[in-house]
Amino acid sequence: MRQFTRTVVGPMVCGALAAVTLLAAGPVGAEPQAGAPPALEPIVVGTPERIDVQPGAIQLQTPRRRMHIIASGFYADGTTQDLTRAAQLTSTNPQVVRIENGVAVPVADGKAEIAVTVGGHEVKVPVEVTGQSKPDVVSFEYGTLVALSKQGCNSGACHGSPSGKGGFRMSLRAYDPAVDTETLVREAFNRRTNVYEPEASLLLRKPLMEVAHGGGRRMKKADPAYDLLHDWIAQGCQVDPADAPRCVKVDVYPRQRLLKRPAHTQQLLVLAHFSDGSIRDVTNLAVYTSSDEGVATVNADGFVTGLDRGESAILVRYLEKMETASLMFLKDVEGFQWNNPPESSFVDHDVFEKLRQLQILPSDLCSDEEFVRRAYLDVIGELPGVGEAQAFLVDQAPDKRAKLIDALLERPEYADFWALKWGDLLRLRGNKVTPAGVHKFHHWLVNAFRTNMPADRFARTLLTANGSTFANPAANFFRTAADTNDCTETTSQLFLGIRIQCAKCHNHPFERWTQDNYYGIGAFFNRVQKKPGTTPDELVVWVSRAGEVTQPRTGKQMKPWLPLKGDAELAGEDDRRDTFATWLTAPDNPFFAKVEVNRMWGHLLGRGIVDPVDDFRDSNPPSSAALLDHLAKDFVEHGFDRKHTLRTILNSRTYQLSSRKNDFNRNDTKYFSHATTRLLSAEQLLDAICRVTSVDEKFAGLPSGTRATQLPSPDVDNYFLKVFGQPARETACQCERSSDSNLSQALQMINGPLVHSKVRDEKNRLRTLVTGGKTDADVVSELYLAALSRPPSTAELDVATRHVTASGDRMRGLEDVCWALLNANEFLFQH
């Protein structure tokens, strides 16, 4: 980061330009370029020790059934690769089953085998073909709706949008089959389907672009979807009988695989299990998305092509059923050599293991100067004072970093800073909980962090709070989350890391959460009631003994439902929230500890293991599942002790890596091979400016000396804070705090009134120093220490003092230096 400072200290205009440019661009690592997928590398079959063929046996029970056959090779060196492209498939009886592009196709009832030959191995797959003389009626749900979903017709951008397109609206990704059948067949007087001449149906001619279609060409006659839609119409647009087999689960093969160049492709096999026991190949009907298009792409047939080193979760969706295949792509990097960095704990072990695999080299340890600044800002939100920084820098103790971490975690500012963070999430704001409520709730929060209240108790206290919002400030949770839906959404996002809002109106379009789930969670909270308290602005939260939640689409009464568990067994009917809180904070809860540790990790490392930190979903996998698991387990084992986990992370080498990149981690943005530089938060920045200049900011209605990080709510109207992303606390989403850079920020720093007045203040740090008889060099050095927690280099000191001398007006010259420091990226950024 030093090069920034050199640019900045110099003539004003140059500094200003540099600040604008750098603020606007931000020192973010380069994103990997996602271009056209490169040509496939030829398969080097080599000599696998063994091969595996999936599925192990095939049953084709109707004329329409097909089965993809996947061959994998396992090698002596422990590697695996997909050999499907290279495998030779032969049917022992083509009168029963034939092979078409690697897919088994039924011909007539009977038994046969398919011999799969590759790499000197042969595996025989038994095939049983039945039902070939019976009609194969296309299922509405598993044929028509699957086909429409596959082609994207009912996606959110097209006919699945709330108002549809061109007067034609379907339920988003087919969550409501009953409405869809009416829309497709009966709406607009049977305009869309034609049982007499199916191929003349608008439902086919529009996506084929045989008739002008606003969405353009979306289907080809060769697509499996065309056949399904066509035949469903030809068969009379029938709906499924009530006793029709239902899909109970979807399996994807492989679930997990590590591929090393030259191996970089994988054909997936997706099997849908039905309630009649049949297993159907839906590989070319499922919908695929890659969680990281820069690492791997996947085509419509489930063929994955790796583009770069890294991991990608391939999300497989078949109607509302969802699975993922986790694929890791490795490649030998020329000149890469692992340097065995020391590991301070399981944290480093997990991080470095993944880096070693991916051939990414971690950066060096950060300097003491960088560490002291980083630790102060991350733990207590403040810059180290000049004396504090100096004391740390001269300390020769080998464990001085650990000691500093311990000391910082005990500072009162720690509690203030984390109360600010949770104040955002709990939406502390006068208009929600009244000004008096804000102060009481804020005080409760500060106290919770000061006493290091365990996270499980913290959550339970909020979620089961009763009584007066003044006497028991935690009850404000239900004042902010004003209705059942808000409780459902807030609780899910804060404590489960699930953004479930979409499922309020329809099954979640990308994830496994359904509308039933949403209202099932709501059933824990719908009995919460509020009544006025004895004093104005006071509210009393209580729980009624009756009341159920009705799912608005189905009209069904919902039982309280727990994610990944099912309908809850209630421990009596006293307060359903107890059951929820007990489940949430149980040691084996699959969400809570992970979300908590991930928030802490994200705070300290600038990026969550799951990122965004409150957006856990199949299509957003953790960058290291092992690390997340270990951190969560450790957190639970230590009684949900936040400070313990913070200490563990802060003491890791991973946390203490430099932000300077090397040739082997230059493009890494997600595996923590180097520190992530990021703009100070609004409150951190304002406090830092006050600290460097020694001029406090006055907040209306609050005692002088109150720091920005101590503000109980954004009700204190401070333009500077807003410009730098202070959230209005409207949502429980961490994303509401903006981290984007913008021009207003640059202007605020360059010539905004706040910076200007503090740099020019009669009693500020530099004037006090000058009055105290300090030399230019002394003043410059102290400013450097105050702003950057390090003394200036000889060259920097030289440039700065010469500027002061040349400016003619000593005070002005020093103000320039101070201003330039405040505009240096090294000051503005956490690094």
Partner: protein, 472 residues
């Protein structure tokens, strides 16, 4: 493709189908190529989807003959009369390069089709239509229409019904036909051919001599046609539109016909001459129904744009707009003295409002689903709904008289004959029911699908359907 092969080559309405047929014979070598008959259908069927008025690909559009002759973005002449080698259009439809060959990503034109275009250019690229500025789709001859199925393998939804004024015959929309039934017995009386694929509106002239039909090919063309109901012959095609016509209505004098359609227009025709007198383009979406007032001076409309409007029939001027449904409006009718307009809609209600200022007078609720057709006659209101019922109310107080229950599916259409006091209702599943409105008794019911054998008598029907699909 079997259907297409059976049909004659002039089946231009089935453009996609007949044109895709590679074994279609080329025009006879001797006869010159006729643009409207041999070339325009190809262009409309194969090219218009991408080269239409909105966002034409390559900035080339062939909505009209005039546009067809203008070059697109490449500025190379699309058609150079007499010089096929210097005609970009011909080059692109006959190119071997898959990346540039038109239709892009579609099946190529057959050799015979390309040859026809080539010869048409060689012969001077002549235009045989009435107006080079007219929509290309409108100059493509639409008649005669292909025949209906000899016998129906499954019923089609009954989207239109009309009683002859005498009440002795009932017309129903079929597939590529209008069928005429005896409303007393349910016997098939006559089949009228030369009808577009769908019939969505039917109306007899007050003297019973004419039967007007609205219909077309969804998303592709619309037609308003007059038939002789007694002879079952086509008399006159009054209009052609870019999408289906939804409804028709004769004025009380019987000398004007109003039609409305998915092209958002209302059109008024002089019945005697067939001349289109007026086009009213005021709605923002499909116009689903149109009705005359008692003296033929006003028209009320029902539109998918969620409004009903009142128009001056003589000037076409829009007088008032009724937005009260807040949902798609499906049906419209005046009461006997035209002091009220009654409209039906997706909001599951009948709204009653004043034509003077569109002020709401009242409403009829209680339907389980959206409400479609509405008729006010004989002091009664009749309407039908997707809730599988038709309902009757007395017109003055709007008090319920009775519900007609028995349909197993959505009731799309109804017709009432005051002479015989008969109500006919038609549902999605192809069933027509005739009721005696005096006592609510069912007079007869039948599937309006000639030759159709219900599954009870032909258990093999689903299998036959499946077999048909498999044989595709």
């Amino acid at each position: 493709m079997r259907t297409c092969v059976l049909l004659s080559t002039v089946v231009v309405l089935l453009v996609g189908c007949s044109i895709a047929s590679a074994d279609e014979p080329a025009p006879q070598a001797a006869a010159p190529v006729v643009f409207s008959k041999d070339v325009a259908p190809l262009l409309v069927g194969k090219c218009l989807a991408c080269h239409g008025a909105t966002d034409p690909k390559g900035e080339y559009q062939l909505t009209t003959f005039e546009m067809l002759m203008k070059p697109g973005a490449s500025s190379t002449p699309s058609i150079n009369p007499g010089k096929p080698d210097e005609s970009e259009l011909l080059r692109l439809i006959s190119s071997d390069d898959k990346d540039e060959r038109m239709p892009k990503e579609g099946d190529p034109l057959s050799a015979a089709q390309v040859a026809a275009v080539k010869r048409w250019i060689e012969e001077g690229a002549k235009f045989d239509g009435p107006d080079p500025k007219a929509a290309l789709a409108s100059i493509v001859p639409k008649l005669p229409h292909p025949d209906p199925p000899e016998s129906y393998r499954m019923p089609v939804p009954i989207t239109a019904l009309a009683f002859a004024p005498s009440g002795q015959e009932l017309a129903a929309g079929g597939y590529r036909e209008v069928t005429i039934w005896n409303p007393a017995t349910g016997a098939l009386v006559r089949r009228i051919k030369n009808v577009p694929q769908r019939t969505l509106g039917l109306a007899y002239s007050p003297d019973g001599a004419l039967l007007a039909a609205a219909g077309g090919l969804p998303g592709q063309s619309g037609e308003v046609t007059l038939y002789d109901p007694a002879k079952g012959t086509l008399l006159k095609q009054l209009g052609a539109m870019a999408d289906v016509a939804w409804g028709v209505a004769f004025n009380p004098a019987g000398n004007r016909l109003a039609a409305c359609g998915a092209d958002r227009s209302i059109r008024i025709y002089d019945v005697a001459t067939g001349k289109e007198e007026r086009v009213i383009e005021d709605h923002a979406d499909w116009v689903m129904a149109v009705a005359w007032n008692h003296d033929g001076t006003r028209l009320a409309s029902a539109s998918r744009d969620k409004t009903s409007k009142l128009f001056d029939a003589a000037t076409g001027e829009s007088l008032v707009t009724y937005p009260g449904h807040g949902e798609q409006v499906y049906g419209a009718a005046f009461n006997a003295d035209s002091s009220q307009v009654l409209t039906t809609g997706r909001d599951k209600k009948v709204h009653v409002w004043k034509p003077a200022d569109a002020g709401k007078i009242g409403e009829i609720a209680g339907f389980g689903q959206e409400v479609y057709d509405i008729v006010v006659a004989g002091g009664q209101i009749f309407c039908c709904s997707a809730d599988k019922t038709a309902r009757q109310f007395e017109a003055a107080e709007r008090k319920p008289v009775r519900n007609y229950e028995g349909h197993a599916d959505w009731v799309y259409s109804l017709a009432y004959n005051d002479a015989t006091k008969r109500l006919a209702t038609g549902s999605f599943d192809g069933e027509v029911r005739v009721w005696n409105t005096a006592d609510g008794a069912l007079v007869t019911s039948f599937k309006a699908a000639p030759g159709y054998a219900p599954p009870a008598q032909a258990a093999a029907a689903p299998q036959a359907a499946a077999g048909q699909a498999a044989a595709k």
